[in-house]
Subunit: 225 residues, 2 copies
């Protein structure tokens, strides 16, 4: 345990992701928060993992909760933006719902660290994270609107409209329990959502329409899972 | 902030649940773990919340992780036992799946504290909690067997068999985000599971069969949600 000072060699440096100090801090914090726990991780431990002085870390983030806030924001920014870009498109609601779920499962599944596991932290219910909660609520509303519209198109009650958003987030628990979520969750979860909103008979067609929509919007093409 | 010693009046005593000291410790710990966080809670804080000396707490639990282990065990013991008692019953797999999901959603939804929120703690991936993880895997296997059998009966591929267990646990995130999960999740979630395993056309019949099965097994009757 010698050589623990801030000036020690940056042993972890090579595997840190990100080309800026800020990105390296976020990557190290994401690893520590998801593997050691948020409360168990000090800003000093984050600085040590990056190989910088704590004072340098404070230049980028004034406090540990600012790092958490930045990490959480990343998990919803992409899907919220995608939902907004889908809005004016002429596709059926169920195709948009499938496309949103597919893209969201993919980012939750393939992100380097399983940050969604932090959603259940009691800290997130404090005022400090009100802005993040609003942003996540915004994403949830996009899901609920598309789910309600899909159910209506299938002449079904919309009372299950809260479930697709929750269904997508099950990928977080799968990753946490099994170390990784299998690639086929990118198909299984959106397929299950289509059944829940009453379009079980048209899954194959909905999937093709969703993939076409994602391609049109410039999202990375979907490979067969 | 005077009078903080172990001998101070037991202010929280009246609202503590449980008639034994052990049950009071578990209730206080469940509150603190779910509202302040596991890492943020000391055994001293638990003893203080019960109004006992820390030495008395150690008489019941040697360490904080023993308290967590006992609390987690409670969340899976009931459903595992129910799944075992269902096994010899003559009902269709999909009715058993509905009944298990309904009973499980109900206990997760109505338990005094949202203990499922602790499933994502990094601490749970350590050797200390291997026995709990095995027990929860056992529950998961019951769900997967019933889901696979239900899908086969609907002449559908069983590749979504991992989802019903995950779908049930979405009630944990709903509670965490909204403070409480609405009563109708006891119908919505099992209904969604029936659709996922390919029995969407028979939901009403499956629900009646499941309620009849639960009554036969002596589970508390299901009120309309």
């Amino acid at each position: 345990m010698a050589n623990l000072g801030p000036g020690r060699p940056r042993l972890e440096q090579r595997r840190r992701q990100g080309t800026t100090p800020r990105a390296e801090i976020l990557d190290a914090a994401a690893e520590l928060f998801t593997t050691k726990g948020y409360a168990n991780t000090s800003t000093r431990a984050v600085a040590d993992a990056v190989g910088i002085r704590q004072a340098s870390l404070y230049h980028h983030f004034a406090a540990k909760d600012d790092i958490l806030d930045a990490l959480l924001a990343e998990t919803v920014a992409g899907p919220v933006e995608l939902a907004q870009r889908m809005r004016p498109e002429p596709d059926a609601a169920v195709a948009k719902l499938y496309a949103l779920a597919l893209a969201d499962v993919r980012q939750l599944r393939t992100a380097r660290w399983n940050l969604g596991a932090l959603y259940l932290l009691p800290e997130l219910r404090t005022e400090r994270f009100a802005a993040f909660r609003r942003r996540r609520d915004e994403l949830r509303e996009h899901y609920e609107l598309l789910a309600a519209e899909s159910a209506a198109a299938a002449e079904q009650s919309d009372d299950a409209k809260i479930l697709p958003f929750r269904m997508v987030e099950t990928v977080i628990g799968i990753r946490s329990d099994e170390g990784a979520a299998p690639a086929d969750t990118e198909r299984l979860i959106p397929d299950a959502i289509v059944r829940i909103v009453g379009h079980g008979a048209e899954i194959a067609r909905v999937r093709i329409a969703a993939e076409e929509l994602l391609t049109r919007l410039g999202e990375v093409g979907t490979e067969p899972a």
